[in-house]
Amino acid sequence: MNVIEISKLTKFYGKSRGIVDVSFNVEEGEIFGFIGPNGAGKSTTIRTLLSLIYPTSGSAKILGKDCIKEGQEIRQYIGYLPSEVFYYDNMKVIDLLKYSASFYPNANKNRIYELAKIMDLDLNRKIEDLSYGNKKKVGIVQGLLHSPKLIILDEPTGGLDPLMQNRFFELIHEENRKGTTVLFSSHILSEVQKICTRVGIIKEGKMIRVEDIKTLEHTNYKKFKIEMQEAIPDEYFNMTGVSNLEVNEKAATFIFNGDINKIVEKLYERKVINLIVEEPSLEEIFLHYYEKEA
């Protein structure tokens, strides 16, 4: 079953582009990574799902229900953590969390204390006295306290120290094991790599590709580092499937996507001094997408 179904979603802010024809589905129980650089349209997509903004065209459904028409009902089941967190400055943390809980009919107040303990959050401080990282923790607790069926995270880890990031990821994994679906937006690929099962890549408002994270990491892409006895002609490795090519006299690095034998044949023609073939990082694959589709 699809928890999120987005179909040809388009949003223009006046004349400026938000997203164009974005379509993808997120299945129940998966952690879906949503990656792209700043300004690519991740937040626009997410804000449409929450009906904070209205699409120009296209549709989005959550749990089979239309995000705009049945938004109020849907939002019961969503836990949302925005990238920048802002709360009522003169409230105490506990009051803010209780206020948040009061919107959900089935919120369990004890969960506030559990989550605060896990995230090491002081409930008695005023919001305005909190550091950015601590505000983020309030955001995490407020997003999870009603045990949502779908968690939407928009660049959630900014401001959290590595220890807290790990606890946060554990929390998300924990919720995910209980069957919660997660939409995780980020421009930091290593964290997506750490936690997601599939990723959607968005660029300049358009969804470039949706892929299984394993496909991205293992099958197609190899990173080659080659050193030869003689200088390598610039166009020597100019062949289909090669990207991010850098030639520096006798050394060359590139990412290759395709039949490895073609490279092997190519290498056979010349004297190779050193050869390293490795799994490229998601960053590099990502870069590759960007250059190719640009």
């Binding site: 626009t44 804000r47 904070l52 903004i53 939002r75 019961q76 920048e84 802002f86 919107f103």
Partner: protein
Amino acid sequence: MNIYFQELKMYARSLLYWTFGMLLTLILFMLMFPAISQDAALMNQLISKFPPELTRALGLTTLDLSMVLGFYGYLFLFILLIGSVYAMKSGMSVLSEEIRAKTADFLLSKPISRNAIVTAKIMSVLSLLVLQTVIYIIGAFIVVNLTTNQIFDKTTFLLINLSLLLVQLFFAALGLLLSVIIRKIKSVLPITLGIVFGFYVLQMLNQSLTDSNLAYITPFAYFDISKIVATGAYESTYLIIDTIMILGFTVLTYIIYNKKDMPSI
């Protein structure tokens, strides 16, 4: 209901300050009343030497300053101005503050409809204004009774004071509407002061130019104190206009807020 109580909690203190300010203004004026009522003949003589346009603009033509309701009717203008600024500030802040403090994402991602949010917020402003009127009227009654022995008509006194709420509702509704039309309001008070005093200038023009149609567009003209003092009643035409304006602004607020894209943080 949670939003409603949250709003009341947030704005209760500022309500007390503003109401206190209104009562303080009243006290300062009323302290002068014994002296002025004694020398009323002199005062009225002085005023009669002003150019007639000016006396009309200041609303001094028909009010007898030696009578407590006449004097009260004159000073009430200042109360009305303070009350109007407070009302418009409240109306303008109540929805836009969420955007300014960037808490709109928090609130609107909760399972609640935008209509329910607007309703809760309107109800909170309405409650604050009614509460203010009640506190003010009780306070004013005590202050006036303490500063003068003159006997005055209680119903007329009540009608004058209730016009405060009716003008405040106009400004609160206008503030509400402007707050959803203007994309981002950096600071509420300057806009509020500008608009309230703008309407007051219109009222001065309206009073000095006799027989003008300006009366229909400025709420300060809807409840002419000298006429209330004279007739002991509101003019129904203006009461209807006021009601239509308030309802119109409110309905438009709902419609526009429902379609509005929340600015991203």
